[in-house]
């Protein structure tokens, strides 16, 4: 596997062991089935028990909640390997870990943590994360989903969420809503909403040409009654869901490297075997330029994410640093996947090869968790101090 700068040598023994275990799982259990699942447009649920047994869900959360207690570099390497399989498989794990287990861990009561986290680590309970709405994507502060507190302390939830990964398979949704009719984004709180609650509807979004091996749903809440303890007590303001996104974006920066590595390995192997004009196309300068560019960009991305992971483990990373990694690495991976598909020639459009699947997937990854453009503006603001959002 691509490691041109011998990055292995600066990983710890346990980081390598974690990576190798997930790598073997992906090679043996994901790669043989993923092309077909993608064409069929279904998330391969059959791999869930094995993923849970391996311990990938919430892997960087503490052992006392049934999790593995890994550091963030190991957590990143898990994402890299899963996305080497497919962005949909990695998305499932990102949502479960970073967008559901993390907010319960960070903002939940001790009771909520003890109730949900061990079940989620074993995938006995599946979660989804509802922030984006049909008309509020890049500007979540405009959300119109509302939770109204009742005189007895219970809540009534109304609104809709869209583009929700795992929405139709989840047992519980972490839903972000403004509270008590207050339109200010400081009133945003997180709620744990059981998906079998009366008034909760989830509909799969059909016709996707990307992330086909992943469930994406629309959620509708019509007078959903929630108990008083459904609220995540330590959540408050838009900052809370953004903290979740920072976690997920960190993982995505690693995941994108995995998708790019898969494309790189596939096209190098293809180029060495595919004979045209009497010799392998790997010997042609145009293909070598493609391969050299991929190698360079992937190696740079590996170094960016590794260093970011070390900063995160030291507790000193910033959301803006995460934006740089997500923006760079996903953009890099979309370019690598496209060039890999082109190198594969006509074969590159077949599901038998991974390049076009990764290429199509990465368009979603480019768009979700803060679009490429939003991260551009985050970085612009970080450098200039001037906020370009909203013109």
């Amino acid at each position: 596997m691509l490691d041109f700068y011998n990055i292995d040598s600066v990983l710890s023994e346990e980081e390598r062991a974690v990576r190798d275990s997930v790598r073997r799982f992906v090679d043996e259990r994901v790669l043989p089935i993923i092309g077909k699942a993608y064409v069929e447009g279904r998330f391969p649920r059959e791999i869930l028990p094995q993923m849970a047994e391996l311990g990938v869900f919430g892997a960087n959360l503490p052992e006392e909640y049934g999790c593995a207690g890994l550091n963030n570099v190991a957590y990143g390497l898990i994402n890299q390997e899963l996305e080497r399989g497919d962005s949909g498989v990695r998305s499932f794990a990102s949502v479960q870990s970073s967008l559901v287990m993390y907010p319960i861990f960070a903002f939940g009561s001790e009771e909520q943590k003890r109730h949900w986290l061990p079940k989620m680590a074993t995938a006995e309970a599946i979660g989804c994360f509802g922030l984006t709405e049909p008309d509020y994507g890049s500007n979540p502060s405009g959300m119109i989903t509302m939770a109204q507190e009742q005189p007895d302390g219970t809540w009534v939830l109304n609104g809709a969420k869209m583009w929700i990964t795992n929405g139709s398979t989840a047992h519980v949704a972490v839903v972000w809503a403004k509270t008590n009719g207050d339109k200010d984004d400081r009133s945003i709180r997180g709620f744990l909403v059981p998906t079998d609650a009366t008034g909760f509807k989830a509909r799969d979004q059909k016709g996707k040409l990307s992330l086909r091996a992943s469930d994406t749903s629309e959620l509708v809440f019509e007078d959903v009654h929630l108990p008083a303890d459904a609220i995540l007590p330590k959540s408050g303001g838009l900052k809370s869901p953004l903290m979740c996104l920072t976690q997920a974006r960190y993982g995505i920066s690693w995941g994108a490297i995995g998708a790019a590595m898969a494309c790189f390995e596939e096209c190098v192997s293809y180029a060495k075997n595919r004979v045209m004009f009497g010799r392998p196309i790997a010997g042609f300068q145009l293909q070598q330029e493609r391969i050299a560019d991929m190698l360079t960009e992937i190696t740079k991305a590996q170094l960016v994410s590794l260093h970011l992971g070390r900063l995160k483990d030291a507790g000193s990373y910033t959301p803006q640093q995460v934006s740089l990694a997500k923006r760079n690495n996903v953009d890099m991976a979309t370019n690598v996947a496209r060039e890999a598909r082109r190198l594969l020639g006509a074969n590159g459009i077949l599901a038998e090869y991974g390049a076009m699947r990764h290429m199509a997937n990465l368009e979603s990854v480019y768009t979700y968790e803060g679009t490429h453009d939003v991260h551009t503006l985050i970085l612009g603001q970080a450098v200039t101090g001037m906020n370009a959002f909203g013109g």
């Binding site: 011998n6 023994e13 346990e14 062991a17 974690v18 275990s21 073997r24 799982f25 047994e53 391996l54 311990g55 990938v56 892997a59 052992e63 593995a68 207690g69 890994l70 190991a74 898990i78």
Partner: protein, 249 residues
């Protein structure tokens, strides 16, 4: 049941080998190492046995400090503790290694000592039987199935065109063939737990080394393919070549 599994750190079977400048070993740069294949089946079998019957699995490996990673891998799969018999290098003389292993194992109170039937790199397959001899224990080699009772066991040995079922008393030494158990993935929790498990390191009491490697060679490059001809006209020539040159018909 107390089981010792003797494991070797071996290069990944998909490695493309290069010979080191000394000419007597492979160049380890960029080579990935893991538990030697047959040894990993033995580890898995030991873990499954102890999960069913209770007991302890101890993994033992001989070599430089790098074998600790191999022991840690077995412990992340579930082995209870590791013993590192420290030596600058793993000698090529199987008896020297067997003497060090026997010295470690003899007072350990083991009901069963397992080995892979041979190492994925050297393929010598001698150390299990030699260790059994030194310990004065019965030895069954290349077991592809193993049933264990309190006082003894039954092993299946797959032979060319037949199988042999053998009985033996415990304690015993058994070397393991493939097919006995598929090694598990170390779980992420297992990897974290392995960090806290005891790993004892002590000098290996190697016997005298009388056999050494003087030179290593890579297999010759495969000659390029040859196109005899096309269509049915080429068949007589193809048969002639297969008979007279390749000598396979």
């Amino acid at each position: 049941m107390k089981i010792a599994v003797c494991i070797k750190r071996g290069p990944d079977s998909e490695t493309r080998f290069k010979i080191a400048s000394t000419g007597t070993a492979i160049d380890e740069a960029g080579v990935k190492f893991d538990i030697s294949d047959f040894d990993s089946y033995a580890v898995e079998f030991a873990l499954q046995t102890v999960e069913k019957q209770g007991g302890e699995v101890v993994v033992v490996s001989l070599g430089p400090d790098t074998v600790q990673e191999t022991l840690r891998k077995a412990m992340s799969m579930g082995a209870d503790r590791g013993v590192h018999l420290k030596a600058d290098a793993l000698p090529h003389d199987g008896l020297a290694v067997a003497q060090a292993l026997a010295a470690e194992l003899k007072d350990g109170g083991y009901d069963l000592v397992l080995f892979g039937k041979l190492a994925s790199d050297t393929a010598a397959g001698t150390i299990g039987a030699m260790t059994a001899e030194l310990l004065g224990l019965p030895c069954v080699t290349a077991a592809s199935k193993l049933d264990l009772g309190a006082a003894g066991g039954t092993a299946r040995r797959d032979l060319e065109g037949a199988a042999e079922i053998v009985e033996f008393p415990l304690p015993a030494v058994v070397t393991i063939d493939e097919g006995i158990a598929r090694p598990r993935y170390p779980s992420l929790k297992g990897i974290m737990a392995a960090k806290k498990k005891p790993l004892e390191s002590k000098p290996a009491q190697l016997g005298p080394v009388r056999v050494s490697v003087t030179r290593m060679e890579l297999p010759p490059d495969r000659p390029p393919g040859r196109i005899i001809g096309k269509g049915k006209e080429a068949v007589p020539e193809l048969i002639r070549v297969l008979q007279t040159e390749a000598k396979v018909l």
